[in-house]
């Protein structure tokens, strides 16, 4: 037991003494949370708009005023012909032109949008916002309610995703590198030959990273709640419980990688290629899984963070009870059992 504790302490010292890596490990969650919380948004805002009208009558003037007053549009110019407007868009001076026809005042019709369609999502959003503002059309029929996220903050969507990514990264990548480093430097030989059980060596190496993962998890949760105002609607116990399963799963993955990789460089590249890319791309973190082609959806079905992120979104943001995430919990547990079993079975007690 004493040996075990001293190994854990030693591993902790490695982490604490590498100042730059520490800085990144703790800086990364902070920076990501702040960026996703405040900077990265899909909001329609500051759209550079050109108004095209030959006769600025009363009706047109009112519509233009409505546009200018909305937070979405900034009128950058008023020109006489659509040709001029198009030139402004081509010259990257404007994103959107609104052409008011001569009978706009009388019939409320004859409006045309000329849009920079390079970004299709934004182009569609701009036109639908502009339509709404100009026609002043609240049909009054529909009472739309945005559940769980009334202000449509992107942070609500991204916080669980950041958790999924960072926990995987810290546990899997850092653990695998730290094990492979000992192999590469030759200290692993001495550790293996010592009377300490090989399994203990690995567990002792994993524990500091486990703690680190929890610290990062708690930092993220606190920041999400107090800085970004993201609710922690569901049961904190289950949030932590599922996170623990996920963290253990990530550790098993790291252990698997460390068995295959012989040098730190390979471990790094494998973590980056096998873990980071699929997590960011296929877990539904940034891009919704249901919009992908079927083949990619199948692949994403074996990406663990997909289920973790899904479960966290439901628990944290929607505040559902644990009975609604049993499917995710089950899949994650199953993956944990398989991966951990595989990692332990594959663990080398010798050098080859």
């Amino acid at each position: 037991m004493k040996q075990f504790i001293s190994m854990v302490i030693k591993e902790g010292k490695h982490i604490v003494r590498d100042k730059r890596t520490m800085l990144i490990l703790f800086g990364m969650p902070l920076v990501l949370m702040l960026l996703f919380g405040f900077a990265i948004t899909n909001d329609v805002r500051n759209v550079r708009t050109v108004v095209v009208t030959s006769s600025m009558d009363h009706m047109t003037q009112r519509a233009v005023n409505r546009l200018a007053e909305s937070e979405y549009f900034t009128i950058v110019a008023t020109v006489a012909t659509p040709r001029e407007a198009e030139l402004a868009i081509r010259g990257q001076k404007a994103d959107l032109a609104i052409v008011f026809g001569p009978d706009f005042a009388s019939k409320h019709t004859g409006v045309q949008f000329i849009v920079d369609g390079a970004d299709p999502n934004m182009a569609q959003l701009w036109t639908s916002y502009a339509t709404a503002v100009i026609t002043n059309a609240d049909s009054g029929v529909v009472n739309a309610k945005m559940l769980y996220n009334p202000q449509l903050k992107s942070a609500y969507n991204f916080v669980p995703a950041i958790m999924g990514m960072l926990l995987m990264l810290v546990c899997a990548m850092m653990t695998s590198i730290s094990i492979v480093r000992e192999k590469e430097k030759g200290t692993m030989e001495v550790l293996l030959v010592s009377p300490v059980k090989p399994l203990m060596i690995i567990i002792a190496k994993a524990i500091p990273y486990l703690l680190l993962a929890f610290v990062i998890l708690i930092i993220i949760l606190l920041m999400a709640h107090y800085v970004l105002g993201v609710p922690l609607a569901g049961s904190l116990f289950w949030i932590l419980f599922i996170s623990t399963i996920y963290i253990l799963l990530a550790l098993s993955l790291g252990l698997l990688i460390s068995n295959v990789a012989q040098t730190q460089l390979v471990a790094l590249l494998m973590s980056a290629m096998v873990l980071l890319m699929p997590i960011v791309m296929l877990s539904g973190m940034l891009f919704p899984v249901e919009s992908m082609p079927t083949v990619l959806q199948w692949i994403s079905a074996v990406v663990p963070p997909r289920y973790y992120i899904e479960a966290m979104r439901k628990l944290m943001i929607m505040g559902v009870g644990v009975e609604q995430v049993l499917r995710e919990l089950g899949i994650l547990s199953l993956m944990l059992v398989v991966l951990m079993g595989l990692a332990l079975a594959k663990f080398n007690q010798r050098l080859e």
Partner: protein
């Protein structure tokens, strides 16, 4: 003159590496073949659950028109709003539509019925776009005159007539590939020589700092040309997408970006003691620059302080410029200031890379 030998050595080392040549070839191919399908932020397949409290002919019609829409997936009717919300919690529904009692009668009498649309807005984009499409369908039936007015508005989409998301994303992928290929590999280079001990041998030779660093940069520029060619060819072969603007300008932009990333990578490498450190520091900056570059989200939507960073972010200049050239067909005159900024930042970084390399301490 010594430059020739040093460059030769870098190339031999890249070629001998068991991993690098494969990476350089495979990476752009994988990225170009997979990511355009993934980076699709189109909102579709929105699941709708309906609570019909009216059960009139009109409400039935409304349900049918939603069922028929290929934008929505109809996931059945629920007896109560509560039950529908539970469906949402089970991820069986994204939007709930509640049709009030007397809906059919109200519409026929020209009164305004109160239809409730409740969307799961955890993903804000999906929630708002989904509910706004549903609103359109409802409005079309309940208030045909308003719908008529809205449909009068015609829209002309320039450059990307079919609103093809891939056309928008592919030039941005060039930026990602360039960043990973010409940024990460140099970051590992000098620190690798430090760990192997060969750097000491180089430091006692009379080799000039500039030639040493230049010899390390040039191979990555050549790799950049290769990689961008692969990307352009794949965009054409796989997606049938070609550049609307001049090709040479894309190469010039890519090389300027390579100048920045390769110098940045070497600079990080100079300050690092281990490969792990180099990768982590690199990764940090990559994520930062990527997220703030306007690749995923429009940079103009960012708050002022964040928008300010785009003035020093080369990724932002490159993505802006390459989209202008590739999608909008712009020429040198439309992107010259982005190009100038890229070259400027790149040169400063190159000088920094040379300065930070110390032969004598």
């Amino acid at each position: 003159m010594t430059l020739k030998y040093l460059i030769q050595k870098e190339f031999i080392q890249i070629r001998r590496n068991a991993f690098l040549p494969r990476l350089i070839v495979a990476f752009p191919i994988v990225i170009m073949c997979v990511l355009p399908w993934v980076m699709n932020m189109e909102v579709k397949n929105v699941k709708v659950s309906i609570v019909d409290n009216d059960r009139s002919t009109l409400s039935q019609q409304l349900v049918h028109s939603i069922e028929a829409s290929n934008y929505f997936i109809y996931s059945g009717q629920q007896p109560t709003y509560r039950a529908a919300l539970q469906e949402m919690e089970r991820s069986h529904a994204d939007v709930v539509l509640v049709i009030p009692q007397n809906y059919g009668r109200d519409v026929e009498l020209g009164r305004q019925p109160q239809v409730l649309i409740a969307a799961n807005a955890v993903n804000g984009t999906k929630g708002s776009i989904g509910s706004s499409y549903l609103t359109q369908i409802v409005t079309a039936q309940a208030r045909p005159e308003v719908a008529a007015m809205q449909s009068q508005v015609s829209t002309l989409f320039l450059y990307n007539k079919h609103l093809n998301f891939k056309l928008f994303m592919i030039p941005a992928l060039f930026a990602i590939v360039m960043m990973l290929m010409t940024g990460f590999l140099p970051a590992l280079n000098i620190v690798g020589e430090k760990e192997a001990g060969t750097i000491e041998q180089i430091n006692v030779t009379p080799v000039n700092k500039w030639s040493f660093i230049l010899a390390k940069l040039i191979p990555y520029w050549i790799i950049a040309v290769f990689v961008i060619t692969v990307c352009l060819v794949l965009a054409w072969v796989v997606y049938g997408i070609t550049s609307a603007g001049p090709l040479w300008l894309i190469y010039v932009l890519a090389l300027s970006l390579a100048l920045f990333w390769s110098s940045f990578g070497l600079m990080i490498s100079n300050y690092s003691d281990t490969m792990q450190q180099a990768i982590f520091v690199m990764w940090f900056f990559v994520v930062l620059m990527l997220l703030l570059s306007g690749l995923f989200t429009p940079s103009r939507s960012m708050p002022t302080w964040a928008y300010g960073t785009t003035y020093v972010n080369p990724m932002s200049y490159f993505i802006d410029a390459v989209r202008t050239v590739f999608v909008r067909g712009g020429g040198l005159s439309s992107v010259w200031h982005q190009l100038a900024a890229l070259l400027g930042i790149g040169s400063v970084m190159a000088a920094w890379a040379v300065m930070s390399y110390k032969k004598n301490s």
